[in-house]
C-alpha cells in the first residue's frame, strides 16, 4: 500500500496501517510471553507510531500546502514488482545465507528485512522530503519487528531510548521540512543539487 501510493496522505496512511499491525504483533507477543515490559512497548507503538507521528506528518503536509503528489521516479506497478523481488531476495537471504534453521525465525527475519528494504526503496525513488521521512520511519518499523520477533525484545530502557529517539527525529525533521519549504518554496528533494563535487 505504501509502495503504490501516489499521494502523501496515502503513504502516511500506509505507514499508519503498518504500525497498527506492529502494535497487534507486539500485543500478541506480550500476551503469549506475559512480560509486562512488552505491554508498555505495545502501548508506545500505538501512541507514537499509530497516532502521533502520522498525525504530525499529515499536519505538516496540510500546513505547507504542497500539492499532494509524491513525485514518483518509478510508477506504482513497477514499484510493486521491484518490492516483490526485494522481498523474495530477503527471504532467500535469511534462508540460505543466515543459516537460521527455525522456520518461524526465518519467516520473521525475512519479513523484517523486506520491510527494511521497502522503506529504503521509498526513500530512494520518491522525490518529496516527506516521503523520505516516511520511508525512514518504515525502515525503523522493520527493525522493530526484527527486535520483537527474533529477540523477544531488547533490554527495556534501550527500547524506550529508541522510541524517544524516533520521536525527536520526527520533530526535528519536521522543522527542517518547514525550513526547506520556506526557502525553496517546494519540498522536492531531487532539486536540492547546489552542493556538488
Amino acid at each position: 500500500m505504501a509502495v503504490t501510493a501516489k499521494r502523501i496522505t496515502a503513504l502516511v496512511n500506509g505507514f499508519m496501517l503498518q504500525s497498527l499491525f506492529l502494535f497487534l504483533m507486539t500485543l500478541t507477543a506480550a500476551v503469549t510471553s506475559k512480560e509486562n515490559e512488552l505491554y508498555i512497548i505495545a502501548l508506545l507503538v500505538l501512541v507514537l507510531k499509530v497516532v502521533l507521528i502520522p498525525y504530525f506528518l499529515k499536519w505538516i503536509a496540510r500546513k505547507i500546502k504542497i500539492e499532494e503528489g509524491l513525485g514518483l521516479y518509478i510508477n506504482p506497478i513497477l514499484s510493486l514488482l521491484i518490492v516483490i523481488v526485494l522481498s523474495y531476495g530477503a527471504y532467500m537471504f535469511s534462508r540460505n545465507i543466515m543459516g537460521i534453521q527455525n522456520r518461524v525465525e526465518t519467516a520473521s527475519f525475512a519479513i523484517s528485512l523486506s520491510v527494511l528494504l521497502t522503506g529504503l526503496f521509498i526513500m530512494v525513488f520518491r522525490m518529496k522530503a516527506l516521503a523520505q521521512v516516511t520511508g525512514l520511519l518504515i525502515m525503523e518499523n522493520g527493525l522493530f519487528l526484527a527486535a520483537v520477533e527474533l529477540c523477544g525484545n531488547m533490554p527495556f530502557f534501550v527500547e524506550i531510548a529508541i522510541f524517544f529517539d524516533v520521536f525527536v527525529f520526527a520533530v526535528i525533521i519536521g522543522i527542517f521540512v518547514f525550513r526547506i519549504n520556506e526557502l525553496f518554496a517546494h519540498i522536492d528533494v531531487d532539486k536540492l543539487t547546489t552542493l556538488k563535487g
Partner: protein
Amino acid sequence: MEIFAILGITLLLTSVPLFVKGARKTGIINSAGYFIVLAVSLILNYRLLHGRISFSDFFYVDSLSGYFLLLIAVVSFASSLYSIGYIESDVTDKAISEKESRLYYALFNLFAFTMFFCTVVNNLGIMWVFIEMTTLTSAFLVGFYKTQKSIEAAWKYIIICSVGITLALFGIILFYFTVSSNGGIRSLNWTDIMAVAPKLDPKIIKIAFLFILVGYGTKAGIAPMHTWLPDAHSQALTPISALLSGVLLKTALYAILRFTLIMNKSIGPGYTGNLFVFFGLLSLALSAGFIIAQKDIKRLLAYSSIEHMGIIFVGLGIGGPLGLFGALFHMFNHAVTKSLMFFGAGNIVKKYGTHNMRSIHGVTQALPFTGIFVVAGVFALGGSPLFSIFISEMMILIAGFTQGAYASMGIFLFLISIIFGALVYHFNRMAFGRKPEDMQATKEPLGGKLAFIFLAVLVIVFGITMPAFFDKLIKASVDILNGL
C-alpha cells in the same frame, strides 16, 4: 567521579546562555568550562592507567574510551576558544542575531555532551541512541545560517546519517539475536557480550558486523558512504566544522571499534582487518580525486578528513602493536591539525567573503597571523617531517611493510603523496600572491589566536617528541585493542 564531572559541566554549560547576556561573556564562560573538562579528562586518563572504571553497569570507561574522551575534550576546548571571536563578529556583522548566538552555545554544549556520553556508556544500544543524537543536535548547527545551501546540507546530513544509523541498528539487533540465542544472556552491555564472545554464531556476527560497519561508517565518513560529509563540513559554522571533522567522525569510529573487539575475540582479527584496509584505501583513492579538482576551501578540508579517516582505517586494518599505535596516534594528530586548518579557513572565508579558492590570494598579507599558521598547517596536514602527522603515517607504513602488505602500502604511499602535492598547490596559490587592493590587514581576536597557538603547540610538540604520559595512554589503548 570524573565522568560525572565531565558530563555535568557540559550539561551545566548548556544552560549558561539562559542566564548570561552577551555573546562574548557566554563564550568566555564556555571556554573556561571546557578548560576544566580538559583538565578533568587528563586526570581521568591518568587514573585509567591503573585500571578500568565502571559504575553500576551503565557507565564503563577503560583506556580506549578515555583516549577518545581526551580527544573530544581537546578539540571542544580549542573550538570553544575560537567560537568567542567568531560568534561575536557574526553578531556584529548581523549574520546572526543575539538570540541565535545563545542558541548556538546551547547546541554546541549539547552536541559535546552527546559525544562525551557515547564514549562512557557500556550499553551498545544506548550508545546507538546517542550517536543518533549527535546527528540530530549537530544538524541545527550545520543549517545554522538558514541559507539555501546550508539547509540543503543539513537535510542531506540528517537523512543520509539516519539511514546509515538505521542499518547499524539492524546489525545491533542481529548481534543481540545471537547473544541471546547462542550466548544465553539477555543483555547489550559491552562487558557482558565480551564475556560470551567465543560462543556467538560466526556467520551471523559477520553479517551483523557488515551492517554495523556500513552504518556507523556512514557517520565516520568512510567512502562510499561519505556523501553527506563535504556538504555538512563546508556549510557548518567553522567551530562546528572542526568538531565534526576532528571528533564526531572518531566517535562513530569508537562505536565500530567496540564491535571490532567483540569480533576479534570471537573469530580472530583477519575478517575485520581486511574490511578496514579495503574501505580505508577506497576512501583514500576517492578523496584524492576530489582534492585535486576542488575549488571550495572548506570542501577541500572536508575531503582531506575522508582521506585521514582512510589512513586511520588502514592503520587499524594492518594492526599489530605498531599499526594500532599509529592509527590511534593519527586520530589525535588529525583532530588537532584539522581543527587548526578549519579555523584558518574560517578566518579566510570571513575576510574574503567567499569559499572559492580561485578568488582568494595573498592571505599572508591580508591576515598575517592566520597566514603563517595556515601555511605551516598545510604542510603538517600533508604529512611533512617535523609535524606530528608525519610520525603516525610513518608508523602505519612501517607496520604495513614489516607485515608484508606491499601492494596496499604501495597504493597508500602513492595516494598520500598525490594528496600532499594537491594540498600544497591549492594553499600555495591562496597564501601568496597579491592581496586585493582595497583590503586592509586586520587584527584578529585574542580567543582565536589562543586557539591557534594551543593547537599549533600540540602539532609541533608531538612531531618532535613523544611525551611519556601520552605514550603510556596510547599503549594502554593498544593493549585493549589487542584484547589484553
